[in-house]
């Protein structure tokens, strides 16, 4: 470990720009990497240098350990920040950095590996005394053995294949009477799907909320937490709106949850920024929580923590990676006010949230007090089909949750993006939804359709001001340079191209 003088940012988009901005403040030289699809991308220009690392597919560029390490060597970097997604939780990459003599801004490779294994991570949490979702693979795999285990854990339970994942062979059992039918059915499906009928029984958490604790450790054995973020507004496990504080965590549960997160982090000897995700079951002081997983990197939603605690997590990452101690003692950290992050995705809420690609004919960010925009795009740029469709994050912070919602709403209404569809209308719909306003959203809320978004039900009137401008748009100089270059809706389905990305 030593001080960082030139740092390669092994990422793209908003997080690469955010890291580059931190480097400028720390007077660290920054090196961007870019694929052939990102020659024009603004993250390239945010850094002092930039190195082409390969063709558009992430596997050949942003996910290629060899090419990233080569780029670092070539540009004389002495450290690598992985951002989030891509190689950020790849233990082999962290190890390759170490082998190449490069500081990896993150935890050690063995810690990444250990926390990357769901089974290992669960074991570690349990051994640190952190609650995990009760469950196990009964030694007695007879119908009665499974039944006894289910009753021991307590109904409702999930009975599922021990071998596989993805919901195959999974049965929800809410009453004892249902057990008799569910067990053999689950076993048959497990056998058919995985060639292994071994069953796993787990407590079913109904309507869980996703609450996570930001932790930070250094090389000297210090670990602190930076309070929670609630990320229950999810669609297909993709977070959409995150906030801090959680609207439901009581001080007593917060104390228990942060203590659990610190215990797990200490148990694994955690270094740098990390997040421990929990499922929260219930509300009030009696709410229970269970360890879900640990993310061994900076999160997309780290700005809400920065807003409520007033710290700079990326700056602290650099300090700790350089071998300095943590910049804060636990008692110096406070949670003040409320912050909400809205992720702006290039996707069409009126058309099954299909990711959009195409030109950003016009892109104007709202600029106002209490609103932070971390964006990966600029006007005139192209949103490609190769990478995550997140364009930007809007973080509104204010004195209270209501004021932060009002601020986010007002700022989203002033966020002008033309040329491709975005989820902004959907975000506004969510921010105004009574369940969200009341803080009553769980992780299944969107997938159950509780906040059904019907664009046809939106205001159908054509505003006179819009009609007037459309009529007046005769002046050709009004048309942006790239106008007409591509029609966003004509692009092919990009779902298939998003592999390798974790939000």
């Amino acid at each position: 470990m030593g001080s960082i003088t030139r740092l390669l940012i092994a990422n793209r988009g908003e997080i690469a720009r955010r890291i580059a901005a931190a480097c400028r403040e720390l007077r660290i030289e920054s090196v961007a990497v870019y694929s052939e699809a990102d020659v024009e991308s603004p993250h390239r220009l945010a850094a002092d240098r930039s190195v082409l690392i390969g063709p558009p597919p992430a596997a050949d560029s942003y996910l290629s350990i060899g090419r990233i390490i080569d780029a670092a060597r070539k540009s004389g970097a002495d450290a690598i920040h992985p951002g989030y997604g891509f190689l950020s939780e790849n233990a082999a990459f962290a190890a390759a950095c170490e082998d190449a003599g490069l500081i990896f801004v993150g935890p050690s490779a063995p810690v990444i590996e250990r926390m990357g294994s769901k089974i290992e991570a669960r074991k570690l949490a349990a051994s640190a005394g952190v609650p995990v979702v009760p469950g196990g693979t009964p030694g007695d795999q007879t119908d009665d053995g499974i039944r006894q285990e289910a009753l021991r854990i307590g109904l409702p339970v999930l009975v599922k294949a021990s071998a596989g994942g993805g919901g195959k062979g999974m049965r929800t059992v809410r009453t004892e009477a249902e057990l008799a039918g569910a067990i053999p059915a689950a076993r048959r499906e497990a056998l058919a799907a995985f060639g292994d009928g071994t069953l796993y029984v787990e407590r079913l958490i109904d309507h869980p909320r996703h609450v996570e604790i930001q932790v930070f450790g250094d090389d000297r054995g210090n670990v602190v937490h930076l309070f929670e973020r609630e990320c229950s507004v999810q669609r297909r496990h993709q977070k959409i709106i995150e906030e801090s504080p959680s609207p439901v965590l009581t001080p007593a549960v917060r104390d228990r949850m942060t203590a659990a997160a610190l215990a797990a982090s200490r148990e694994v000897g955690y270094r740098n920024a990390g997040t421990i995700e929990f499922l929260l079951d219930g509300t009030g002081d009696d709410a229970r929580f269970y360890f879900l997983e640990m993310n061994t990197r900076l999160q997309v939603e780290h700005p809400v923590t920065e807003a409520v605690t007033g710290v700079d997590l990326v700056r602290a990452q650099m300090a700790v990676a350089s071998g300095h101690g943590l910049p804060w003692r636990q008692e110096q950290l406070t949670q003040r006010g409320h912050a909400i992050e809205c992720r702006i995705y290039a996707e069409d809420p009126a058309n099954g949230f299909l990711p959009q690609a195409g030109p950003l004919l016009l892109y104007r960010e709202p600029v106002r007090p209490g609103v932070r925009i971390d964006a990966g795009v600029i006007e005139g740029g192209q949103v490609s089909v190769y990478y995550d469709p997140m364009l930007a994050k809007l973080i509104a912070s204010a004195e209270s949750r209501d004021a932060a919602i009002a601020r986010a709403t007002s700022a989203l209404r002033a966020y002008a993006i033309l040329g491709i569809r975005t989820n902004i209308p959907f975000l506004l719909h969510l921010l105004e939804h009574p369940a969200f306003r009341a803080g009553q959203v769980d992780t299944g809320f969107l997938d159950r359709g509780d906040a059904r978004f019907d664009p046809q039900a939106q205001d159908e009137s054509l505003p006179a001001a819009a009609l007037a401008v459309a009529a007046a748009l005769g002046e050709p100089s009004a048309a942006p340079r790239d106008a007409g270059a591509r029609d966003a809706r004509a692009t092919t389905d990009p779902w298939e191209l998003l592999a390798g990305w974790r939000g």
């Binding site: 004919l361 040329g419 054509l462 401008v469 459309a470 002046e475 009004a478």
Partner: protein
Amino acid sequence: MTSTRVTIRAGDSSATVEWQPDPQDARTTIVQVDGEREPLRVERLQSGTYRVTQGEQSWPVYAAATRDACWIFVNGRVLTLEVSSERGHRRSSVGAHEALSAPMPATVIKILVEAGQAVKKGDTLILLEAMKMELPVRAPGDGTVAAVRCREGELVQPGTALLEFE
């Protein structure tokens, strides 16, 4: 001063709109939307940025055109509108603006007409030079030159009215 009627569609909705350039201000268009009491003034501020005014009220509006549609942002809403003229032409091929302006930064090298002069469609009214090319500014139709707003040798910018035509 003639006005142009266009039909604007978005999905199943449509509206009829009549517009004409503001003779006082080449950047401004005056638009009467069917069913609105008062006409709206549309001023182009910057690339893609407009101010629409109706009495005391005003809205910032952002717009961008593609081959197929106008993308408009107003009050937090994004609309994609299709514009067609009453004669069934695509809007983008109609657009004969009565205040003629330079298409790019250019030097006025010759003014061939004067105020009050009758001209025929296609007559060259002004010669500009830019990028070593001569650019003729031609009459968009038969009519009369209402006013000349530039002088020879002047460096003019896009959006600045060179002459008015009626």
